[in-house]
Subunit: 152 residues, 2 copies
Amino acid sequence: MMKEESMTTTVDSIASECLAVRIRLLNRTITGIFDEALRPLGVKISQLNVLMVVAKRGLVSPGDVARRLNMEKSTLSRNVERLRTREWLRVSDGESGRKQVLELTAKGLRLIEKSWPHWKKAQAETEALLGQQGARSILRAANTVWAQLGRD
Amino acid sequence: MMKEESMTTTVDSIASECLAVRIRLLNRTITGIFDEALRPLGVKISQLNVLMVVAKRGLVSPGDVARRLNMEKSTLSRNVERLRTREWLRVSDGESGRKQVLELTAKGLRLIEKSWPHWKKAQAETEALLGQQGARSILRAANTVWAQLGRD
DNA sequence: GCTCCTGTGTTGTATATACAACATACCCGC
DNA sequence: GCGGGTATGTTGTATATACAACACAGGAGC
């Protein structure tokens, strides 16, 4: 058993430094800001994120999207299923029969168009919350992660 | 219908600036690092986060913990249920009958002790991923959020 | 051509999360 | 003391997430 004094040190260290509790707090807070802004459209930011990857990259496979977002393929599989149900994207079998191909529908495109002002509002609100410097730090940190994912 | 050109602008803006997709990417990545490190102990970082708040603050109510983590009370209710099942914390009715009181068990304390080296490893790995500057930025951003939560 | 290995996607299970609706308990003003 | 408003916690429902196990398709080596 650890000494009482050491125990306190352990708790204090984790409490005052833990990166996980902090990133998770930021995630809940910021996701909430965007979800609230998008609520009138009936879409969540998690879903719009997937649609944006497909919009940006054109014809991609589910695996490509999952890698880009550093997300489990099984997670993405179910997310895609829901987006397909709402007819925001289409899934077809690739020529080789192995990979599937994702593609935005016209309805999906319209959704992105309509999302713009709501997204903008949430983005501004988040910048106000974090401050300009904080916001830029998040962008930089994400770029670092993307760079390292690419290398693997 | 928006013009094709404007549509491209919309997609590019969101794709290149969106804070939500980035914080969510960081959340998945970092949560994964900590969960993997803690797997030998059979605890997840989300659960350790809750236990740490209780350890740090002593006798707290579920509502207090939820506010501190900016989490829905209903979410915390179910998390506590699982922690109670594993006997890492105890729930008792407060004197006033209204608020409940959470308290770590001896088993919960031992879990935190045993977690220390695994947490330390994950924290170091995360710092290596983000860089010192990136890691510090996350700490600062979280402090900003906590400050604003406190004001509300 | 067969075999094995790898990449791709799905399904089973558990957890984390939020919102809405609800039941209570408390407190404040009167 | 009473009534209404508010704080507290639970439950129903939907989504997001991961891990493990699986099915299957393609290719590489022989």
